[in-house]
């Protein structure tokens, strides 16, 4: 007996952040990623995947997303941004996220929130402008009278700071759990 359609849609929605970032990683364009996510969502409803449990369903989502993402890249008449072999190797990392329970992801979200607070206002602002407001780096550079390269470097630095902060928090949590 497969999963109920309503359950499948619920899972799709619960998975959307992971799935979206997966698609985004393949297509390298947030707007195209939205389109692909939409296609995958519709495919899910159309095909009503015959799977027995949620873990199988997640695998199905991922496969559908990869297929649709690569199709979308082809439609844009672009070569794949990431090699097939790289995509294959990345699967393992993505599946780690799949396996993570929602509680862990929520913790991660809280940590990210905390770490964002620890960033300098400038770094935080750049991240918000770039990701939340969707401004292109060139637009941010224009507004801030910076070079585009400087903007990218600053965002990259902010990512690194966030990464280190989250790692520290994870380590502290592990120590506390022991």
């Amino acid at each position: 007996m497969g999963l109920e359609p309503a359950k499948i849609v619920q899972e799709l929605i619960a998975e959307r952040d992971r799935l979206f970032s997966y698609i985004w990683a393949i297509v390298g364009d947030i707007h195209l990623a939205e389109d692909v996510f939409q296609e995958v969502s519709l495919l899910v409803v159309e095909k009503n995947p015959n799977v027995d449990d949620v873990s199988q369903l997640r695998v199905w989502f991922r496969r559908a997303a990869r297929l649709k993402a690569l199709e979308a890249v082809r439609r844009k008449k672009r070569g794949p941004l990431l090699n097939e072999s790289v995509l294959d190797k990345l699967e393992e990392c993505w599946s780690d996220y799949d396996a993570a329970p929602d509680s862990e992801l929520n913790e991660l979200l809280d940590m990210l929130r905390d770490c964002m607070r620890l960033l300098t206002p400038y770094s935080r602002r750049l991240l918000v402008m770039h990701y939340t407001h969707g401004l292109r780096s060139s637009e941010i550079a224009r507004r801030l009278k910076l070079k585009v390269e400087t903007v990218y470097q600053a965002i990259a630095r902010a990512h690194r700071s966030l990464s280190e902060c989250i790692k520290a928090k994870l380590a502290a949590k592990e120590r506390a759990d022991e």
Binding site: P5, A6, V9, Q10, I13, R16, D17, F20, S21, Y22, W24, A25, G28, I30, H31, E34, D35, F37, Q38, E39, S41, L42, V45, E46, A72, L81, L82, N83, S85, V86, K89, L90, E92, C93, W94, D96, Y97, L109, L112, R113, R117, Y122, R125, V128, H130, T132, H133, G134, L135, S137, R143, Y152, Q153, I155, A156, R157, H159, R160, L162, S163
Partner: protein, 650 residues
């Protein structure tokens, strides 16, 4: 990008930059090769890659919005000359919904938004004023601060009145000049307050947005985030009208394109464009000519100084109300024209102090003057008759609000004019501004979207055009996806549909849903399935007809199609006129997704025509309520019909 050695500490940042560029679609071939090579070779880079991608998504969709407002303030402190983006913009739906203001956040892409507030207490959303909302706590805190500040100002104003206006003006001027730390009495308090305010970066609420019509924003970062307006708020309208009502009662209509900053509780800075100000007499304090000159001097140096007379500052002039209604226009050179409709204003040039007396004029009704820069500074002259004709171009009244629709039970409202969609009382992003066409629609098939047509139903009456050249439809699935939980419409034993549509031919689907539930789940609503001109509904493939030949299918006639369902009984209406009844199952089970303009997922019976507006209620409306909706649609789209507006909501 210069690649550092792989073991260098800065290599992580180099890699992160590659990923950031990759996600932004801004990676050149060399960068792509480098990225692939690193991902191929290093497992830790693959983990970092996934981590960055996922984190970017979380910032974009979840975390970033919480910092948007805070970052704005911090950023403006660091770089005051930069216009900081604001919180995710909230757009008022337009005056069509009258006094029941619904705030809709219109964001591009997969971005999170604060919840909207809707007047009728939606069940699930967190209102923007709630402590649980991303901005609510701050708003409440600010409101309390504003109340305390107002109490303080109230006490201070008594002192203020008793001490003569000049004292404040001069003191403020000297304070400004010296940059020092305030004297005694009111001026000292004023200075202290100014300083404290600067430190806390708290600015009081000085008014609210009281109306908007078709606003488009030249700078999305300057979209208003909520109806209350703080001192210092800037607006950059590309087009449309926005009315600001100050706490003093003064009203200003901004007419896009226009850039305006609310500088004080009694005025603002018009950098470009037009405004009309209406200030009732007695809303300001009388001032002497001398104090006015002092005031002008102070203002020219300290634009944030609060003054009591309503004053519009421009790059070249001050227009000071003397109890009146007037228009101000600033062109790109900074030249200022002022037209007086009623009462009197004083226009004074901003420039060399010695020119003050020579360069000010009192304008009375129907008089106008222009301040423009020339070699000797700013020159002021009366306008010629032909130039005065320009005064007719000022908008002096906001368009009359149309009746609000009942919000109770409103499950889905597709209103293309203000580009909003409301689902269960919450705004949902579904049409977002992006790209050269400015519209992006979530559709059934990516390659064939219904087209947004800004004049599908006439001037300023946009619609979605469906041309049947392929399988195309529009789904609300994406809406559910971004909102976090499935949003089944949960239509069961009662619902009410309205659509303003143009239809060509027969077998045209307005909307459908294929989701199977425990009971009959597939539904479709359309035209001409049972015969020419019928308005039909099927539940679980059981088509239910209505009287034929009611629906115009010439492709050019806009009409209101309406179906009311209550416990198995369907009633069909076209432009408010009954088009028959039918009996179906007592209850249906309709879950999302919903599709507009297409029958089912496979694209059967697509609509050839246009949709201008759709409302879906989870209840069967009373005749009074359906008359309100019908009258609203009729008025908006200029249609005739049998709807009889009631007082309700109007």
């Amino acid at each position: 990008m210069n690649k550092p050695p792989a073991n260098a500490p800065e290599h992580d940042e180099f890699f992160a930059e590659l990923v950031v560029r990759h996600l932004a679609g801004d990676l050149d071939d060399a960068g792509r090769e480098q990225l692939n090579a690193l991902l191929e070779k290093y497992p830790e880079k693959r983990r970092a890659f996934v981590e960055i991608c996922f984190r970017a998504r979380l910032i974009a969709a979840k975390v970033g919005v919480e910092f948007a407002g805070e970052a704005e303030k911090e950023f403006s402190e660091v770089m005051p000359d930069i216009t900081p983006p604001s919180m995710p913009p909230i757009v008022q739906t337009s005056p069509q919904i009258g006094e029941k203001l619904v705030w809709n956040i219109d964001l591009p892409g997969e971005k999170p938004r604060p919840k909207v507030v809707i007047e009728t207490s939606p069940p699930r959303p967190i209102p923007w004023y709630s402590v649980n909302s991303p901005i609510g706590l701050r708003l409440i805190a600010h409101s309390i601060s504003a109340i305390l500040l107002l109490i303080g100002l109230g006490i201070a104003s008594v002192v203020y009145v008793n001490h003569n206006y000049e004292i404040a003006g001069q003191a403020a001027t000297s304070e400004e000049d010296s940059g020092g730390g305030g004297g005694g009495g009111f001026s000292g308090a004023l200075a202290t307050a100014e300083k404290a305010k600067a430190k806390k970066e708290e600015t009081p609420f000085v008014g609210h947005i009281s109306g908007m019509v078709d606003c488009r924003w030249a700078d999305p970062a300057l979209k208003p985030i909520a109806p209350p307006i703080r001192q210092g708020t800037k607006f950059a309208l590309e087009s449309g009208l926005m009315e600001i009502t100050y706490t003093t009662g003064a009203k200003v209509i901004l007419q896009g394109p226009c850039t305006y900053e609310v500088e004080s509780p009694s005025g603002g800075y018009l950098a470009l464009g037009k405004l009309t100000a209406k200030v009732a007499s007695g809303q300001g304090l009388a001032t002497s000519a001398k104090s006015q000159a002092n005031l002008k001097s102070a203002i020219s140096k300290s634009p944030n100084l609060q003054i009591s007379k309503f004053t519009v500052r421009t790059p070249t002039a001050l227009i000071i109300d003397l109890g009146t209604e007037f228009g101000v226009e600033v062109d790109e050179s900074g030249a200022t024209a002022s037209y007086v409709f009623n009462g009197m204003v004083k226009i004074a040039t901003l420039g060399n102090e010695s020119q003050v007396k020579e360069n000010e004029l009192i304008l009375r009704a129907s008089q106008s003057a222009r301040a423009e820069r020339d070699e000797g500074g700013v020159r002021l002259r009366l306008l010629t008759d032909s130039e005065e004709k320009l005064a007719a171009q000022f908008v002096r009244r906001m368009p009359k609000a149309l009746p609000a629709v009942p919000l109770a039970g409103l499950a889905l409202w597709l209103d293309l004019s203000p580009r909003q969609m409301i689902l269960d009382g919450r705004e949902v992003r579904w049409v977002v501004d992006r790209g050269p066409e400015g519209r992006r629609l979530y559709t059934h098939y990516i390659e064939a979207r219904p087209q947004y047509d800004a004049a599908a139903f006439g001037r300023d009456l946009p619609g979605l055009r469906f041309t049947n050249t392929g399988k195309r439809g529009l789904s609300n699935l994406q809406l559910m996806a971004v909102e976090g939980e499935p949003e089944p419409l949960n239509l069961t034993d009662r619902f009410h549909f309205f659509a303003v549509a143009k239809v060509t031919g027969q077998k045209q689907t307005i909307l459908s849903s294929n989701m199977q539930g425990p009971g009959p789940g597939a539904i479709a609503w359309g035209v001409g399935f049972r015969g020419p001109g019928t308005l039909d509904f099927h539940d679980n493939h059981n088509w239910l007809g209505s009287e034929p030949n009611r629906v115009a299918s010439d492709g050019d006639t806009a009409q209101i199609l309406e179906t009311r369902f209550e416990r198995g009984r369907y009633e069909f209406f076209v432009n408010g006129v009954s088009a028959g009844t039918a009996q179906g199952a007592a209850s249906i089970e309709v879950l999302a997704p919903f599709y507009f303009g297409i029958h089912g997922m496979m694209g059967d019976d697509p609509l050839v025509g246009a949709l201008g507006e759709v409302l879906i209620y989870r209840t069967a409306l009373s005749n009074d309520d359906r008359n309100v909706v019908g009258a609203y649609l009729q008025t908006k789209f200029g249609l005739s019909g049998e709807y009889r507006p009631t007082d309700k909501g109007g």
